[in-house]
Symmetry: C2
Subunit: 298 residues, 2 copies
């Protein structure tokens, strides 16, 4: 009865609804003469996955009618080159949303760079003011992956009140902002944040009504970590070698899907789970940034 397909959370369907919201906002903006525009900023990388990253962003923007451009800066002295590009885009009134590709290269001064993004265009919520608005209970832009997980949970588990959510990973773009989102009044989850220094990761995971895996290690979480009936959200995306696959590799998450699926009640697959929702949330944020700017212009 409860086969793998029934347990699989369909990220694409959730993403579609959010992208429709974004597309509707974009439609209204274009009618009133504003062309919403997102610019991605990245340090030059000679890497096939980089080109594919840029292409997929481009395609996503096209789907909802957002103009998308890319600024690639030289890898030498990234603090200066990224900072300069961000400052220029922040001042450019035709640009509504700025996306900075993470992680930054080694040696880049993260704080100095994030502070150069106009908070009103900071769709990934990297500027300290946006992090503070989230912490203060008035989120404006929130890191998209964290928000995507919250969107999925709003569908899958409309009441989290009193539920135990265990987040594996404390990163600034996933684990930490997600904890804030889920602890808010009205959402009311009880939240534990674990990380590489946690004594008994599996023990904490086994307490979870909702387990969020954002550890950044392929297939680290297995079925023995899952409390029977738990909802499992897998944030990882890794290309791992797989001789049985045609290309010699396949995509994998932080969770070993086949092992976790029998124990859980619902689980996000990789690909097709958190990923598409993250993209949709980004598009909606970009559309909303453009709408705010257009509103302010009147």
């Amino acid at each position: 009865m409860n086969g793998a397909d029934e347990k699989r959370i369909d990220g694409k369907t959730i993403a579609r609804r959010i992208e429709e919201e974004a597309a509707e906002t974009v439609r209204r903006l274009r009618e009133s003469g504003t062309e919403p525009r997102l610019v991605s900023v990245a340090v030059d990388e000679e890497d096939a996955s980089f080109a594919s990253y840029l292409r997929s962003r481009e395609q996503a923007c096209l789907r909802v009618g957002i103009r998308s451009d890319v600024v690639v800066v030289p890898a030498a002295d990234p603090t200066r080159s990224l900072g300069g590009a961000l400052e220029k885009l922040s001042a450019d009134r035709t640009v509504h949303a700025i996306l900075l590709k993470l992680p930054l290269p080694p040696g880049a001064d993260e704080a100095a760079i994030f502070a150069r993004i106009d908070p009103a265009k900071d769709v990934e919520g990297l500027h300290p003011l946006n992090a503070g608005l989230l912490a203060s209970g008035r989120p404006r832009f929130v890191p998209c992956t964290a928000l995507a997980v919250a969107e999925i949970l709003a569908v899958e588990s409309p009441s989290l009140a009193g539920k135990d959510v265990v987040i594996l990973g404390r990163s600034r773009v996933v684990g930490s902002p997600l904890a804030v989102l889920l602890l808010r009044k009205g959402t009311d989850a009880t939240v534990t944040v674990c990380h590489s220094r946690t004594r008994d990761l599996a023990g904490h995971a086994r307490r979870a009504d909702v387990l969020v895996a954002a550890v950044g290690r392929p297939e680290m979480v297995t079925g023995e970590w899952i409390r029977p009936g738990a909802i499992v959200i897998d944030v990882g995306t890794h290309a791992i070698e797989d001789p049985s696959a045609k290309k010699g590799w396949r995509l994998a998450g932080d969770v070993r899907f086949e092992s976790a699926e029998p124990a859980c009640s619902r689980i996000t697959p990789v690909p097709g789970g958190v990923g598409p929702v993250t993209t949709a949330v980004l598009l909606r944020a970009a559309a909303s940034a453009a709408a705010s700017a257009a509103g302010g212009d009147r």
Copy 2:
């Protein structure tokens, strides 16, 4: 052997060391011609405890040589009256630190009020930018009670790595910022934040190596909630009726001390635990705000 006195964490001793740091900063500033000045802003209250609150702040400032003033605004239309006072003090170059008395009266627009404090004088970390700097791993001003708990733990449990910290209470001035402080790299606690909607508060508490009670309810936490050997930090301060006391009342925390003391390894008393450290941390923040302003003037 392990009597109540041996288990009692002496907040006053920890506070004294921090106040000495503050006094040293103040001494240097006064020598170079700066008089550090803290201004407290409060809405008028016809309440004996209000006068005593103001007096104790005044005395604390005197101890380390900080000039202390109070601005009391009328209770009608607090958003306007507080906002106006905060804006004036933010612009006043003789004022280095601004302390807003919380909680705000009902109907006050918290967000609008906090945004009027110059972030560089915001010693309680209320402005969203300061909340964001904390969330971004570069804390400048942090809510003093949360920082006081972290200071006590740094003395009592120098390595929190891998330890389970359970925080009862998710408030913006205690529970939430404390979670961020203890999760940071280098501190590395595993942190659970519980609150009024948590399913099994006592069960979570019993897992804790370090239990922080910030629930705001007198003596709610009892010995059965304490894991044997745990460190207990009691953030509450309540005046409760006590016919056996000379005045008819006594101070109590969120923890029933006599009940919790046998189970724990160490515990903060009320009064004399978190309270004096919170005051000391505030004085140090005010001295440091004055030092930054004086540095910027050169």
